[in-house]
Assembly symmetry: C2
Homo-oligomer: 274 residues x 2
């Protein structure tokens, strides 16, 4: 049973058929079914994830390492405390978030939170309908990777410049809402098939011009954006260039002189389970 | 036992004391010790990782999800087959590796391979002595993140340009061996404490100028590079700018006209267990 739990955990989102597991562990299907039931009860009781079983010939069992509601709220509350720490203030009125977004521990937990939000955002089960997770380099990559890992999906990363190693690419220029400068992003032709359904994950949103640019770029591939997940959205400007996004936290304000930072849980998290 | 396995897997590299586990699961320490022994036997038998227990008051139990030797060889062999696929050829004699390096499945398995190589490279237990995993953006990030996750270490990412959001940074110019052009990389001052011991992970090495530049940049922080892990090293030039690196695969050659690509397992993998 320990080996089965370990195997499911090391391959999150991947479906194993009972036959495959029976071969691997030299156990009968019926005893495996019982083991799966015990594992499901155990991981769900301790808020460690969900075991999803699908009946029938094409069915099987897979593990989605989402967190329980309470664990999500605790994670986001402690993230807000971390981000509100005045020692994170950087000259110019910015918050240093680099260590958090690149941390394996944080990115892995926050990936689980995104996976839960995407799965529970209306229309139902968006997360499980998606084909890809997409982000723009650089700081969104760990979060997007861990989200994709949770959901068992591949990750596609839009680049800031054209790379000779990526073959023919589609490139788009857009105007950054925060700097007013022209920015570029590009996606290799072969990175996405036509008509893919994607989930977008990024670390920060101010005006939403990057998210909007990415949506337009994805439009060139005939891709449909099912949902946009953002680690921290700035409270201003209130009006963003994209309508619909799920923010884990909201940066309410920075008072550089008095060294005050206020980061609070985002509406997507506050509304969970309500 | 399933919940305990799940908890250890979701927190790779993190040490749990028996007291902490006893509180969490409402079980006695002695029954937990027995459970840990069963889990260790199970995950080791199936090549799913190692359970490391440390005795004494400061001791505890942690899970390192390295692969078994056979699984490492299989993973690298199938990676070589993937990379040698002529459909990956991109105009100019490059190989398209982007989907692989950003894949959660591949990066997670290859992170396990790097963790094993770093732990077994002489001098002994380098991986467990390190304080940080370091990479340069962009394509090395998923591999480095997953390696760091396996080893329970934080990740630091050198950027190609200076970011206003990262505070004061140390920047270094170096000449790229492949393009002959001046490249820049920079690390925020606060990303690394002085005197850290680091493991470097990157996706590709041709002449080694990036790895060399990174080592020099890390030198500015008084950091010591314990080992360098590379996903694919080009066979030419034979002489690299860094002496010591562990390559998972070697790109032997590309014949663009005849559409032939040859990628073979690297010496670090071939020599494993020998």
């Amino acid at each position: 049973m320990a080996a089965l739990t370990a195997l499911l955990h090391q391959n999150p989102g991947r479906q194993f058929t009972l036959g495959e597991l029976a071969d691997r562990f030299g156990a009968s299907r019926s005893s495996l079914s019982e083991d799966v039931a015990v594992i499901r009860a155990a991981v769900e009781e301790h808020g460690l994830g969900q075991i999803v079983t699908q009946p029938g010939a094409a069915g099987g069992v897979r593990f989605i390492p989402t967190l329980g509601l309470e664990a999500v709220r605790e994670t986001i509350a402690s993230l807000c405390r971390e981000l509100s720490d005045p020692r994170r203030l950087v000259a110019g009125g910015y918050i240093y978030m680099t260590d958090l977004v690149f941390s394996p521990t944080w990115s892995s937990r926050l990936g689980q939170v995104f996976a839960l939000l995407f799965s529970s955002a209306a229309p139902k089960a968006k997360g499980t309908e998606a084909d890809y997770v997409v982000t723009v380099e650089t700081k969104g990559i760990p979060l997007a990777l861990m989200t994709a890992r949770c959901l068992g999906l591949p990750l596609v990363v839009a680049r800031r410049d054209l790379r000779v190693t990526e073959g023919s690419s589609v490139t788009m220029n857009y105007v950054s809402g925060s700097t007013g400068r022209i920015q570029t992003m590009s996606l290799p032709r072969r990175s996405l098939p036509s008509g893919a359904r994607v989930l977008v994950v990024d670390d920060f949103m101010r005006a939403g011009s990057t998210a909007r640019g990415l949506r337009d770029l994805l439009g060139e591939f005939g891709a449909r954006v099912l949902a946009v997940g953002i680690l921290t959205a700035s409270a201003v400007p209130v009006e963003k260039l994209v309508d619909d996004y799920l923010a884990l936290t909201v940066l309410q304000g920075i008072d550089e002189r008095r060294r005050l930072v206020s980061v609070i849980p985002g509406p997507a998290v506050v509304g969970l389970g309500a």
